[in-house]
């Protein structure tokens, strides 16, 4: 009843604490500032793109409003706070972002915003941002010049590179970078000579990407937020969309209003659950038994889509064997859900088709995350719901460009476009980059390290702390870490993270809000830390890929504030220092910014992405096409995302990838993946042939009649290459230029795009072939998803029945514990009896420093809290509003306010993960750089989270661990 804004007024009941009160003055100052600049008032937004308000705008600009000194301009951009991709019209006057108008035309958000989107203009003030480069000297941050910063950081990293090899530096990139920046960072770090890089996708949907791509081809949301309007039933499991993706509810509630059944399965009665027709409470970490429990009823009742399965699914028999072991009594024993509830959910999904499923971090952030998501895929395959409008697996991504950064950004296991790290992949990209393969190879310590996946962001701390002999890289430990747009409090085992920070030689933070990392480092170090001010996406231009795979182009709203610079400008500056500037921008022109820095042109970076990323169809989205879409949003249909008439006629909004072939092919983008009811040149498709053509004598290709509409061969077929084209007699349809480029290549490496053109346009065939989806993913540790208890399980009895994996010695370059640790802590639930889980609040995002620095948001959530059931609170002897300690098996203790509520069941404690700035009871204010502390600070839940990683992707376990609570 205290921390949530809902139950009390912000102004009244909760008094501002000292830090917040200080900010009151600053908030006031801003108003004064605007007034003084004569920028406060606009009599009417100049509205080239605003449809409903054209009247009199020209006069408005010359109105006699006091202080009207310059014309207003409107810049269309996209919110940076989640993956929905809400469009924003930013009104700028005299270089100041003065107003924000809703974009009713956007087919994605129709003008709507949540608290974060509606307050995005605060980025134009950025009072709490890092304003200039700083350096830690004697435990205090001091201002330095950019020149000094670039030189000192550059020298330190070059020295480490010379002494310990390029793999001793770890680069943490960002899902908040634009596609262009994320792509350039992948290239940049490659030229530094290491695969030791990663970004937020590792700890949000890496298990989804791996699990889903291995099931049917691409690791992404299959349909779209908009397409959910076509669903007759919707299952949310491990997703609190109402808080994490609020504007998605616009489409979801619209669907519900028109009869769609909405089901939420979650350990918590979330705000999404409050809107559902049916809510089921599940024990955290038992998704697979629940899903198998549903499939048990589906198989028992014959609700499966047999024809679909015959044509398009491989290996379901093995799954069925496992499923039939999960009798209702067993399901209830493990999940706590009674049979009638499981049956009701299964029946609702089976009888209200098309039905869709939504999952988020509640499924992915587990030691069995990859298996959880595959079980969900299997559920949808069994129901015949994939490749169908209103069906699919709607996987809501987190950050605004996490999909794009996953697709083309700094991933430790792949070059852009999921090409992997094999020599052939390197050669493909070297050709695109216009650099010599041998030169890049020489940048790496060895060819082996060039083709070996790097350490993940979830484990960088072990890269520092682990015994060097146990690390699977010759240089041993990491010595420097560069945090380039990533929060530290989003990674687990925070208590160990400060030890790792202490041990590092150099820590560099490049961010508009580097403060969480800065304060943690200053708490344990005296020097060797550098903070460099990057600007936000509103101070530069570039594209971002929303969760539904649509790309949107952001115009630059304002010039970079203070001394900040766009990330790609900083990359180029470091490339000059490191000596590979020319190679980095071989095909990319530079422009001078206002301070004379060289800035790579974002449009040209995108054109380079277009030239190389054939695998996932990032080739058709030229900057010109994207900009045209941004200008003509009103021509797109909200339900289908398709434009009717106008300059984008027949195209889907944002050219959702895959948008195959070169821009001239005019592929319209793909609104729903694997949809055989459409022609491939109209966004249709089928499952991908990516795993060979047969396995153990059984064909993996799809059956007769399962190909996309209009395909010349209505059967399964392998992916296209020069050989297949010749066999089919279609080689002569290539031009001579295309022939020269396509010889010896396949559709993914043919830089002319000729193979794709001939297959798609001339013959209606899918370049990646037509195969079955794999219910059985034989290359994963559990080919059939199996339930395995979390490492820190509240049920020792079930640990014996459903133990975790065996330990792995070399896994993403690090030894990784499973069974040995689970055995060791098997009975720890006697001391730590409560499940500790975490999640989002609507007002904040990610690590939260950015949003907690925004007074309009900070005012709404002023304190970190824990939700505890009244029973557990009474047992522990505290009341609503008391300060309590939440202590985990790591012995780390969090001091938070108790919110006693039935939102959580007895035995579960929920903590939001957006807070930082307190450390085990102490405010860290004194460790922040002056003026750059966020308004609201609080305990980071991840200070106390425990060990545990997914067996495929190294996803961290955050959703199921243990704790105990006591009055502070």
């Amino acid at each position: 009843m205290l921390t949530r804004k809902s139950t009390h007024s912000t102004g009244g009941a909760r008094q501002l604490r000292s830090s917040a009160a200080r900010n009151l003055g600053q908030t006031m100052d801003r108003r004064t500032f605007l007034k003084r600049s004569g920028l406060g008032v606009g009599a009417g937004a100049m509205a080239v793109q605003l449809p409903y308000n054209l009247i009199g705008s020209a006069d408005a600009a010359t109105a006699e409003s006091a202080g009207a000194a310059g014309a207003e301009t409107v810049h269309r951009t996209v919110c940076t706070h989640c993956s929905v991709g809400c469009a924003i019209d930013a009104v700028v006057k005299n270089g100041v972002w003065v107003r924000q108008e809703p974009v009713f035309d956007s087919p994605i958000n129709l003008g709507a915003h949540c608290a974060k989107g509606a307050s995005i203009r605060e980025h134009g003030h950025g009072e709490h941002r890092l304003k200039y480069p700083m350096k830690l000297v004697d435990g205090k941050y001091q201002k330095i010049s950019w020149e000094q910063a670039l030189n000192e950081v550059g020298d330190r990293l070059l020295k480490i590179r010379a002494e310990s090899g390029p793999d001793a530096v770890y680069w943490i990139g960002s899902s908040k970078h634009s596609n262009e920046q994320a792509y350039l960072l992948r290239k940049f770090v490659s030229f530094f000579g290491t695969n030791n890089m990663d970004h937020q996708a590792r700890i949000c949907h890496s298990t989804t990407v791996a699990g889903v791509a291995n099931t049917w081809g691409y690791g992404a949301m299959t349909n779209s937020y908009n397409d959910m309007q076509n669903a007759k039933a919707m299952l949310f499991i491990g997703s609190n969309a109402a808080e994490a993706h609020p504007v998605s509810l616009l489409h979801i509630l619209h669907a519900k209003e028109n009869g769609s059944k909405m089901i939420v399965v979650d350990p918590r009665f979330t705000r999404t659950a409050a809107k559902a027709d049916y809510y089921v409470r599940i024990r955290s970490g038992t998704d697979i038994p629940f899903i198998w429990g549903m499939l048990y009823h589906i198989f028992q009742n014959g609700w499966e889509d047999q024809e679909y399965i015959r044509q398009r699914v491989y290996g379901l028999d093995k799954v069925r064997e496992e499923v039939m072991k999960w009798t209702p009594d067993k399901v209830q024993e493990v999940t706590g859900i009674p049979e009638e509830q499981v049956l009701k959910v299964a029946e609702t999904l089976a009888k209200n088709k098309p039905s869709t499923v939504v999952w988020c971090m509640g499924q992915t952030q587990h030691t069995v995350g990859n298996a959880n998501v595959r079980a969900m895929c299997i559920l949808q395959l069994v129901l015949g719901n994939v490749g169908v409008a209103g069906g699919g697996t709607n996987i809501f991504r987190g950050h605004d460009n996490v999909q794009g950064a996953t697709d083309v950004g700094p991933n430790p296991d792949s070059l852009p476009g999921y090409y992997g790290l094999a020599a052939g992949s390197w050669k493909h990209w070297c050709k695109v980059w216009g650099v010599d393969y041998e030169w890049v190879k020489a940048r790496y310590a060895s060819e082996d390290l060039m083709t070996k996946s790097g350490i993940t962001v979830s484990r960088w701390i072990d890269g520092v702390l682990e015994n060097p002999e146990a690390i699977d890289q010759p240089g041993g430990n990491l010595r420097a870490v560069v945090y380039w747009g990533h929060a530290p409090n989003s990674q687990t085992r925070g208590a160990e993270m400060v030890e790792a920070m202490k041990k590092l030689d150099t820590l560099v933070v490049i961010d508009p809000y580097p403060s969480a990392t800065a304060s943690m480092a200053a708490m344990v170090r005296k020097d060797g830390v550098y903070l460099l001010p990057a600007c936000t996406q509103f101070e530069t231009s570039g594209s971002a890929t929303a969760s539904n795979r649509s790309l949107q182009w952001r115009e630059k709203v304002i010039e970079p504030l203070f001394e900040s610079k766009p990330d790609h400008t900083i990359m180029y500056a470091f490339a000059k220092k490191f000596g590979f500037a020319d190679e980095l921008v071989k095909n990319i022109p530079l422009v001078k910014d206002k301070q004379g820095w060289d800035e790579p042109v974002t449009e040209d970076i995108l054109r380079e992405i277009n030239r190389g990323t054939w695998t996932i169809g990032y080739t058709g989205q030229s900057p010109e096409r994207l900009k045209l879409h941004m200008k003509n949003m009103h021509t797109f249909d909200v339900k289908t995302l398709k434009a009717t008439g106008g300059p984008c006629d027949g195209e889907y909004f944002g050219l959702p990838w895959p948008c195959y072939g070169n821009p001239e092919l005019k592929h319209p983008g793909t609104p729903n993946l694997y949809d055989t009811s459409k022609h491939v040149m109209d966004g249709g498709g089928n499952f991908r042939a990516n795993f060979g053509v047969e396995k153990d004598g059984v064909s993996l290709l799809a059956e007769e009649g399962s190909a996309s509409k209009g395909a010349e061969l209505q059967m399964g077929y392998p992916e296209f290459d020069d050989v297949l084209l010749k066999k089919l007699g279609w080689w002569e349809e290539l031009t001579d230029v295309e022939k020269a480029a396509a010889e010896g290549k396949n559709w993914k490496t043919d830089l002319s795009g000729g193979i794709i053109r001939v297959a798609m346009k001339n013959h209606g065939m899918h370049p990646f072939g037509n195969a079955k989806a794999r219910a059985l993913v034989w290359n994963f540790p559990d080919p059939v998803p199996l339930h395995r208890e979390p490492i820190y399980s509240p049920r020792p009895d079930l640990v014996e029945k459903y133990p975790t994996h065996d330990d792995k010695m070399k896994f993403w370059r690090l030894p990784t514990l499973y069974k040995s640790l689970q055995d060791k802590v098997k009975d720890i639930s006697k001391e730590y009896p409560l499940i500790m889980t975490s999640g989002r609040l609507v007002e904040y995002e990610g690590g939260g420093e950015e949003t907690r620095s925004n007074p309009w948001l900070a005012e709404l959530q002023q304190e970190m809290f824990a939700e505890v059931n009244p029973k557990d609170a009474n047992d522990a002897g505290f009341r609503n509003g008391d300060y309590i300690w939440v202590e985990s098996p790591t012995k780390a203790k969090l001091k938070v306010r108790a919110q006693v509520t039935q939102r959580v069941a007895p035995g579960t404690v929920f903590l939001p993960f957006h807070f930082s700035g307190w450390w085990q009871g102490e405010d860290m204010l004194k460790f922040y750089p002056d003026g750059a502390a966020p308004i609201v600070r609080g305990e980071a839940v991840n200070t106390a989270t425990t060990y545990g990683y997914d067996s495929v992707t190294m996803m961290q376990e955050t959703k199921t661990t243990l704790c105990r609570v006591s009055k502070a």
């Binding site: 009417g44 409903y52 009247i55 009199g56 109105a63 087919p107 616009l250 619209h254 909200v638 339900k639």
Partner: protein, 74 residues
């Protein structure tokens, strides 16, 4: 453009006209001159609309339409 008028006068006038048609007055009646603050301009009188009430009302209707997604989605 600053044809400032006394709001309350207009309001009560409208009310009495309506009353003449046998309807309940839809705007609460205030005694003439009771409002003792500064006079205000009507929304369509300043700036953008230059007194064109019809254009202003059309703009209002358009903006309401933006709040109704059924106008764009079926």
């Amino acid at each position: 453009m600053k044809t400032r008028i006394r709001y309350m006068l207009a309001a009560s006038l409208a009310a009495s006209l309506l009353a003449g048609c046998g309807e309940q007055p839809q705007v609460a009646k205030y005694e003439d001159g009771k409002y003792s603050g500064k006079a205000d301009t009507r929304p369509w009188e300043a700036g953008a609309f230059k007194g064109d009430k019809g254009a202003w009302e059309q703009a209002m209707r358009n903006r309401v339409r933006g709040q109704n997604e059924y106008k764009r989605v079926e």
